[in-house]
Every structure is written in C-alpha cells, then in structure tokens.
C-alpha cells in the first residue's frame, strides 16, 4: 500500500498534466490512466480552472453597444507594403556598396590623375623630410650655436684659413717625425 502511495503523481506532475498531458513521462501517463485518485485530482484541478473561466464569462457585463468602424474611409492599402519597402531599401544599400567597391577598384582616368598628383606630392614631402634628416645628421646643433662651435665657418675654404692662421713649422716637423717613427 505504501508502495502504491509512493507511485502517485506529485503536485508538480498533476499541474503538468493539467497544462499538457503529453509532457508527462510514459510511466506517469500510464499511472494517471490507471489510478482513479490521481485522475480525480487532475480532473478536479482542471474543472476548477475551467469553472474559473466560465464564471468569469458569466459574471462579466456585455458591451452596451456593438462596435462599428468609425469614419468613412475605406481600408487603406498602401501601394508598397512594409516588406516591399524593406526589400527596396536592402537592394538600394547593396547597390550602393557595389558601386563604392567598384569606384575603389576600377581605375577611372579622373581618379587616376588625382591619385598620381597625390603620389607626387607625397614623394616631394618624403624627399624634403629625408633632406632635413640628413642635415640633422651632419650637424644636429641649432643655428644659434653654430658660431660658438665654429661649425658656421665650415664653408670657408681651407686655403683661406691657412692664410689667416699660418701653420707653425715645429708642429709640422714634429708631425713628420712622428709619422716617420710610426711608419719606420
């Protein structure tokens, strides 16, 4: 008897059976058909719920007037339905994208000319930049420091400097000696 009681449907299963019997497992379904206690419980709950609907219907007032369409306009059927607008929009966007891709890839003469001009100006800018970098490598000091460093007279020829500041002979002979020692 205890075993039979334990086989009865739980509250959850009874509610599930009221909602949709096909959701029950095969064994539960089978039990529901065999066991009058579970069947009564399920039918009781089902009846209460249908009575709720019927009572609500019975205790509701009726509308005092019947409903009618107001205004004299007929049903407005739009020339283009919404899905047509959507597909038109999608087609338009696709066409615009294809046009943009073609514009980018196809060498139209007018755009090619523009691009060549652009490349030339970029080349000139690059050259200028390289020249600036080279001059900085040669002499990184700003112009204001060139007089102090003596670099500002680098353009003056060596002969002119020798004329203004003659070479001291001892130094030369010393240098010669040194060279002789070195190579000797």
């Amino acid at each position: 008897m205890t075993q039979e009681k334990s086989l009865h449907l739980t509250e959850k299963e009874i509610i599930q059976a009221v909602i949709d019997e096909t959701d029950l497992t095969e064994s539960t379904h089978e039990h529901l058909y065999k066991c009058h206690i579970c069947r009564n419980e399920k039918e009781g709950l089902g009846n209460q719920l249908s009575r709720l609907g019927n009572t609500a219907e019975r205790l509701s007032p009726l509308p005092r007037k019947s409903f009618k369409l107001t205004g004299k306009d007929g049903l407005k059927i739009p020339r283009f339905r919404r899905w047509q607008w959507q597909s038109l929009l999608a087609a338009g966007m696709a066409a615009a994208m294809i046009f943009a891709v073609l514009l980018w890839k196809t060498p139209f003469p007018i755009y090619q000319k523009d691009r060549e001009e652009e490349r030339t100006s970029e080349f000139v800018q690059d050259e200028q930049l390289m020249a600036d970098i080279s001059s900085l490598v040669e002499n990184p000091l700003p112009e204001i420091y060139l007089d102090l460093s003596g670099e500002s007279i680098s353009d003056v020829s060596e002969e002119f400097i020798n004329f203004v500041i003659p070479i001291i002979q001892n130094e030369v002979s010393y240098n010669h000696k040194k060279e002789e020692v070195y190579y000797g």
Partner: protein
C-alpha cells in the same frame, strides 16, 4: 448588408475559414466583411479587456480602439488564418499601454485608481438581483487578489489560458514566446492559484 455578407461568407463554413475569407474580402477593401469580423470577435475582445481593466466603460473604449487599429493595420497580417491571435496580440498591447498610462495618471494623482470591477452605480442598476451583484463582487475580488500575487507574465498567460480560453499555441503566438516558456509561466501561476483556498472553495461551490 446581410446579403452582401452571405455572398462573401457562406454560413456553412467553419469559423476559421469564415474568418479567413472575411479577412481576404476586408483586405480587398470590403468594410462590411471587416464588420462581420467585428461581430465574431467583439464579445471575446470586450471580455478580454474587461478582465484586465475591471471597467466596462474602459473596456468599451479600448475594444473600439482595438478594432480600429486592426482595421488600419490589416495589411500587415501575414497569415489570414491567424487573424484571431493577431487581434488578441493587438488587444494585449493596447491594454498594456492603457495600464501604463493609467499608472502614470494615478501616480501623479490625476486619476483615482478604481480596482474593483462592477462596483459602479451603473453596474448595480444593470443587475436587478442583489445576490448576483454580491457574487460578482466577491468573485472579482478573489480574482484580483490572485492576480496581484502573480508576476506580469504569469498573469498574462493565466488570463489568456483560463479566462480567454486560448490554446497554448495561440498564447505563444500572441506573446511571441516559445510554448515551453508559456507552460513554465502557466505552471507557476496554477501553483499560486492552488495556494488560494478562498477562490478554489468558491469555484468548488462551497461558498454560496
């Protein structure tokens, strides 16, 4: 007008196909056929709105509005056989909007919140038998208390299933949810319904 209707909708047709052919004719611009659709659905929609608003006057205004909305938007209906579900989904959304507006008005104290259905003088005059009026008041009081215990979705699903008596599939279409989600909400709602002894006793006929 009746002749016109009979020409379009033979009486022997079942309601489903009758509705579908009426929808087709209405789409072609036949107002009379749409009015036939109104005749078929007006009580169901009116009751559906009444269950949620508890006011006959609001239910009348909203039902009229729902049919006008449906008429204007009929061309958006994809499947003519699903006119009923489509109409109910318009009604559900319209009632939801109405309740939002009402909550705002009540919040700003611009309107008094009338919760009890059928308590206006008009309803009492409509009902010559006092006992019926008391029963009505008691019943709707219990229903309202049950509804207050349910979440928004549980309430909507429970009302659509047991008061509007729609199928689970129809409810899923109306609320744009899966059938299993509808069953889950329904399970929770029924559990709470079972925990409400006064209403269950009333329905079992213990309270006279």
């Amino acid at each position: 007008m009746t002749e016109n209707l009979e020409k379009h909708i033979p009486k022997h047709q079942e309601e489903g196909s009758r509705v579908a052919s009426a929808v087709e004719s209405a789409l072609a611009g036949d107002r009379a056929c749409f009015e036939e659709l109104i005749t078929i659905y007006q009580e169901k929609i009116f009751r559906m709105v009444y269950y949620r608003t508890g006011s006959r006057m609001d239910a009348e205004d909203l039902t009229q509005d729902i049919f006008m909305k449906a008429f204007r938007g009929l061309h958006t209906l994809k499947d003519k056989k699903r006119f009923g579900s489509w109409l109910f989904s318009i009604a559900v959304n319209r009632v939801r909007d109405f309740q939002k507006q009402k909550r705002l008005l009540v919040f700003f104290d611009l309107e008094r919140d009338v919760k009890d259905p059928d308590t206006s003088n008009m309803e009492i005059h409509d009902d010559p038998h006092g006992i019926n009026h008391l029963m009505r008041q008691e019943f709707w009081g219990h229903v309202r208390r049950l509804m207050e215990k349910l979440s928004r979705w549980e309430r909507e699903v429970f009302l659509l299933r047991f008061l509007d008596q729609l199928t689970i599939r129809e409810i899923a279409q109306i609320l744009s949810k899966s059938e299993s989600a509808i069953k889950t909400h329904l399970y929770r709602a029924i559990k709470k319904f079972k925990e409400n002894p006064e209403l269950t006793r009333l329905l079992s006929g213990e309270i006279q």
